[in-house]
């Protein structure tokens, strides 16, 4: 069985293992008995398809699980049963029997919100996380300000138009240089004020603030492109536009034909 769920709010700071434990506890709280493995220390059969980095939001996480023998709850009801007992930030959207083979997962749509401090590109990207809450609010009539932001957006757009983008990837085998350009299927750069209102996620509060939003479809499997590497590319190629803070949200996952993966 599978379940589609969100990870937002305070829950984004939980690690993959923390999330696994939280889901297992939630199943117990909901009185849904999971199938357990055999052996010395039986553990529940539950997995999460694509582990999410700490600090990243998602509205398209998929958990796979099996119910214990004798637990006759229809797959479609699982989500509704879980919701009242899930921790803050985790919401079950739907649940179903079966599902596509994990190998069919091909693409991920993600949104990066790049936040800059102060106004315009004054002191761009010191990257030390020092928040400048005393910065004056940007006036819509501030022409110089608007121009600086346009330059930034244009530079970022141009960057992702290049045929090759080499970034350093930190993996099990140490640091390797990878060309991420071929792993990007689609990429849109938006300025401030373009956040979709009312979704309640991080991009929302970007509206009217000093931020740039990237929405991209990237390879989800073989090889996988962590969308945060898009920000790494900006840091490398456009150091003057290094954001003070990068927020990331997974929006949807697809199979090779760009149908939502379920």
């Amino acid at each position: 069985m599978r379940m589609l769920f969100t990870k937002e709010g305070v829950a984004i700071w939980s690690s993959h293992l923390d999330l696994m434990r939280a889901l297992m506890r939630s199943f117990r709280r909901a009185g849904i008995e999971l199938k357990h493995s055999q052996g010395f220390t039986p553990h529940p059969e539950l997995s999460i398809l694509m582990p999410l980095s700490v600090g990243v939001e998602s509205q398209c996480e998929i958990a796979e699980f099996a119910l214990a023998e004798g637990c006759e709850i229809p797959a479609e009801e699982i989500a509704a049963r879980l919701n009242p007992v899930l921790p803050a930030g985790i919401r079950a959207l739907e649940s179903w029997e079966g599902g596509q083979k994990a190998g069919k997962l091909a693409w991920l749509r993600a949104r990066l919100t790049l936040r800059y401090q102060g106004t315009g590109n004054r002191e761009p990207g010191t990257g030390d996380g020092e928040a400048d809450s005393s910065a004056p609010l940007r006036s819509p009539f501030d022409f110089a300000q608007g121009k600086a932001e346009n330059d930034r957006i244009e530079a970022i757009r141009a960057l992702f138009g290049r045929p090759s983008l080499i970034v350093e990837k930190h993996g099990k085998k140490g640091v390797v240089e990878t060309d991420i350009a071929p792993m990007i299927r689609e990429l849109v750069v938006k300025g401030t004020g373009n956040g979709e209102p009312g979704t309640g996620d991080a991009a929302d509060s970007a509206a009217g603030e000093n931020a740039v939003v990237l929405e991209a479809v990237v390879a989800a499997q073989n090889p996988t492109l962590n969308p945060l590497l898009l920000a790494t590319a900006i840091e490398r190629y456009l150091p003057e536009y290094k954001p003070a803070l990068v927020q990331c949200r997974r929006l949807e996952i697809y199979d090779a034909d760009m149908r939502p993966f379920r």
Binding site: V10, W13, S26, F27, R29, F40, V54, P87, G129
Partner: protein, 615 residues
């Protein structure tokens, strides 16, 4: 929610280890609307989230205070070093997990102090909150700082920082304390007036109401109460544990903690009376909970938390008189739901084969024994009623049943200990090893025997409170001697850091002259002293020197039985006469029978309304 804190957090959290510790929002946490409350309590635990969230006392008092109408109690833990540095760099003040509001906004700030080496964390937390460290520098009813917990029976080293102490069990007294504050607030009392009011609550000790005078040789000459202050403050206990609050809807930690399971407290107090054990004395009188109460609490807390493990906890769970009926019912419930039951501190002597097999059905964990000393003579002297025969018999059953992992805990530096006692540890370990060779059901898997020694710290309110501590050098000599005599690859030996235990003794036995030392050490950067990653002996030595305090005065000197001890204002139930008697019996290697075999007259029964223990 605090706007600036919530703006700063997303910028800081990606750079710290385990950020889930710093955001709250856990399932079952208590959130109240600000317009419905008049009093805010910040419940501070001076250690990390992982340690603090494992503390049952914190969970109990959190629930007790939040059960009060108009009062909201929130949690605060000590940030790890990386988070502290980020907070200081960003100007982010210490905040409470539920509301993310600054701790400085809270009316009352309560510390639960379980361990001496967390003293500097109290200062870190006050400082990060922007609250003056010293009680005398805090004025008015805002930010009243009080403390309780297992190691506040000697409150004197902290006297300078804490406005008042709540001694003993807080289920009832904490409610009285908070109500006293609310009343003072209504009447617009000064802080001084409030302290006199709160001091009338049984179990509350206000250090500023006592003057400590010293002799020229540094010993305490007199403790002089101000007019109106009680000569003695007696700790509080809960009379009926079956009616006491228990967190059946516990907060579910959002990241792994030290005790990542439900904790069912089967009894308070210990019938044994080991002469080195502070908790064994200060948690008396012995009070078991009814098995029906526990069964219901277990079912409710498991259902509400979704935990897959439950521990039957107490100082000595195998002495819980209804252990069998309780585990019988619980195993039935738990086995059907893949929930593990664990019983720590099982004793070798009454370890029933039945129970072992029952628990084994659900889970196989290692066997743990704490003989504490290597020879029967020394075990008698410390009143650790474990015999070699018991240990070997239990091992025999366990090895035959397929167990192959044994952990053994001992202490070195115990009063009257000789090299013969040290070598007795090695002898016992080899007997266990041979027992495995003779009885193991499957020898191919080998056996692991872990031996650990701790450095004995003579604690206040124990039969050994007057004893001296040996030097760290002597302790390490005994460790090496033991190591030389345990050369076998199945035996793994580890020993506690000597310097840490030395400072633990100084702080545990310290008087008011330790306050400035704690502050000086903290100013030099001492923090998270219970963690080897941070513990820095040199900082403490420098602080002691700076304050002109000789550590040996509190460790190797030993205290005279006619000496006035710093903690004598406090009455934990167990009487001084009894402790002296225990000391004398120790000198004769004479045991004291446990409470079930006859009341030894420790004096703790005085705290019970009925005057009689039901061990």
């Amino acid at each position: 929610m605090s706007k600036t804190i919530d703006e700063l957090l997303p910028r800081i959290l990606p750079r710290v280890q385990k950020p889930a510790r710093y955001v709250g929002g856990e399932y079952n946490q208590t959130v109240k609307a600000l317009r419905e409350i008049d009093t805010r309590v910040a419940f501070c635990f001076p250690d990390t989230y992982e340690i603090g969230m494992s503390n049952l006392g914190l969970r109990i008092l959190y629930g007790v205070v939040n059960n009060m109408d108009g009062v909201w109690c929130e949690r605060v833990f000590t940030p790890w070093g990386d988070m502290e540095a980020e907070m200081r760099a960003a100007g982010l003040p210490l905040y409470a997990l539920e509301s993310h509001d600054p701790v400085a906004d809270f009316d009352m700030i309560a510390f639960s102090v379980g361990y001496e080496m967390s003293y500097t964390n109290i200062l870190t937390m006050l400082d990060l909150a922007g609250i003056p460290l010293r009680a005398a520098e805090r004025h008015g009813l805002h930010n009243i700082v009080f403390a309780g917990g297992a190691c506040t029976y000697n409150p004197e080293p902290l006297a300078e920082f804490i406005d008042f102490f709540s001694l003993g069990e807080g289920e009832e007294s904490t409610v009285e304390i908070v109500n006293c504050w609310r009343d003072a607030k209504k009447r617009d009392l000064s802080k001084e007036e409030f302290l006199w009011e709160v001091g009338k609550i049984p179990g509350v000790y206000v250090p500023s109401h006592y003057e400590h005078r010293y002799n020229p040789d540094g010993t305490l000459a007199a403790i002089v109460p101000l007019p109106g202050a009680p000569a003695k403050v007696t700790k509080r206990i809960v009379q009926d544990l079956d009616k006491a609050y228990y967190p059946v809807e516990p907060i579910v930690q959002s990241t792994e903690i030290v005790h990542d399971r439900q904790n069912l407290e089967v009894m308070r107090g210990c019938i044994r009376g080991c002469r080195f054990c502070q908790a064994g004395y200060t948690y008396r009188p012995v009070r078991p909970r009814k098995p029906e109460t526990l069964y219901n609490q277990a079912l409710q807390s498991l259902a509400s938390s979704g935990d897959s493990e439950i521990t039957l906890s107490s100082l000595s769970t195998s002495d819980y008189k209804y252990l069998e009926p309780l585990t019988d019912r619980l195993t039935e419930y738990c086995a059907a739901r893949n929930v593990n039951i664990s019983v720590p501190s099982l004793r070798a002597d009454n370890f029933s084969r039945d129970l072992m097999l029952k628990l084994q059905k659900v889970r196989k964990s290692g066997l743990t024994f704490a003989p504490e000393a290597g020879t029967q003579r020394l075990r008698d002297a410390i009143n650790k009623n474990v015999t070699e025969e018991d240990v070997l018999k239990t091992c025999e059953i366990a090895f035959a049943g397929g167990w192959n992992n044994v952990k053994l805990y001992f202490m070195l530096g115990l009063p009257t200990e000789t090299d013969e006692d040290v070598l007795g540890i090695a002898e016992l370990v080899y007997k266990i090893y041979n027992c495995w060779k003779d009885h193991a059901s499957n020898k191919k898997r080998g056996v692991r025997i872990h031996v650990a020694t701790a450095f004995f710290v003579p604690k206040p309110f124990t039969g050994f409170q007057w004893e001296r501590q040996i030097t760290p050098e002597e302790y390490l000599r005994r460790c090496r001697l033991l190591k030389e005599h345990m050369n076998n690859k199945s035996i793994e030996y580890s020993y506690h850091e000597a310097k840490l235990s030395e400072l633990e003794a100084v702080l545990a036995r310290g008087d008011r002259r330790l306050g400035p030392v704690i502050e000086a050490a903290w100013r030099r950067g001492a923090k998270l002293d219970g963690w080897m990653e941070y513990f820095d002996y040199e900082k403490w030595i420098a602080a002691l020197e700076e304050c002109g305090v000789d550590r040996h005065f509190y460790t190797t000197r030993g205290f005279g039985t006619d000496e006035l001890l710093p903690w004598e204002t406090i009455d934990p139930g167990v009487s001084k006469a009894f402790l002296l008697r225990e000391r004398e019996r120790a000198g004769r290697s004479e045991i004291t029978p446990d409470c079930r075999h006859g009341c030894a007259g420790c004096g703790a029964n005085r705290l019970l309304e009925c005057g009689r223990c039901d061990p």
